[in-house]
Amino acid sequence: MDSVRSDRNGASSRIPVALKILIAGGFGAGKTTMVGSVSEIRPLQTEEVLTGVSGADSVDGVEGKTTTTVTMDFGRITITEDLQLYLFGTPGQDRFWFLWDELSQGALGAVVLADTRRLADCFPSIDYFEQRGTPFVVAVNCFEEQRFAADAVGRALDLDPGVPVVLFDAREPLGARNVLIELVEYVARRQLTSAGSR
């Protein structure tokens, strides 16, 4: 490609567009597998500072600020030189909820991974994205022997009409990719609908 360094002033016009997609779901739902199957996965440390977390259990005797280390998975998909997709596997444990606010800020959308054996595990993720207004699809990781009808899962989760439910097999190489396509197409449909209703 052309030399970028030769013109520092022109660099700002070459800043790529980076989009963020969150991969959420209960512990063991396959977040790491999904991020790793479509992108080069790398660990990301977020050493966050906790300052008087409201609603948390009282921390008697613990004065001042404290930090907590969260390692999450993140991966990049390069669409073009100027368009990059970043996937973040959101930490599943409840005590990391504070991280979600930043992660969901400006996110394109989210994939909620559901395990039909433990469907309730993904309720908190769904509640969160519904409240934030973050578009999401539910991806049901299922194996051949336990195929569920997508609309049955949608009813069981009490999803708003229109929220896509995708059945996929995380072991299939294209499974995760197709889930991401479903999400982006859903976001585009919502965008067009909201633009049309204005």
């Binding site: 790529p16 567009v17 980076a18 963020k20 990049r76 400006g106 394109l108 982006v184 585009a188």
Partner: protein, 128 residues
């Protein structure tokens, strides 16, 4: 009983005890960047080499500038340099104040994603 390092009575107190250092030691305990919030997908571009005269900059600052001659987002810096996102933010604040980098906040922050961009993403994903 820790049995994996039999030769050391305190295996976390030897000279290689880097990880024992608290992550925010490198920022002298500062936890917030000067000059305002920094998005984790903001792109960083180095604009000038580090000049050590007068500036209290650390090797980690140098490493960031060296990694940012091409636009690079904050998360990539953190992962590449094996620093936490919070630490990288503080260091970026220093570099921004010193005029050594420029920061470019992500356009996506508006929450309104261009449909043409979304189509390009779908096409790109299909081509994977």
């Amino acid at each position: 009983m820790p049995a994996d390092s039999p030769g050391l009575a305190h295996d976390w107190l030897d000279h290689d005890a880097g990880p024992v250092v608290r992550p925010y030691a490198v920022t002298q305990g500062r936890v917030a960047p000067t000059g305002g919030e920094i998005d984790m997908l903001a792109f960083v571009v180095a604009t000038a080499p580090v000049d050590h005269r007068g500036a209290r900059l650390q090797p980690e600052h140098d490493a960031i500038v060296a990694a940012a001659w091409e636009p690079i987002p904050v998360v990539e810096l953190a992962s590449t340099l094996d620093l936490s996102v919070g630490v990288v933010r503080v260091l970026l604040g220093d570099l921004r104040s010193a005029g050594l980098i420029s920061m470019h906040e992500p356009q996506a922050a508006s929450r309104s994603h261009d449909v043409d961009v979304l189509k390009a993403v779908v096409n790109g994903l299909r081509a994977l």
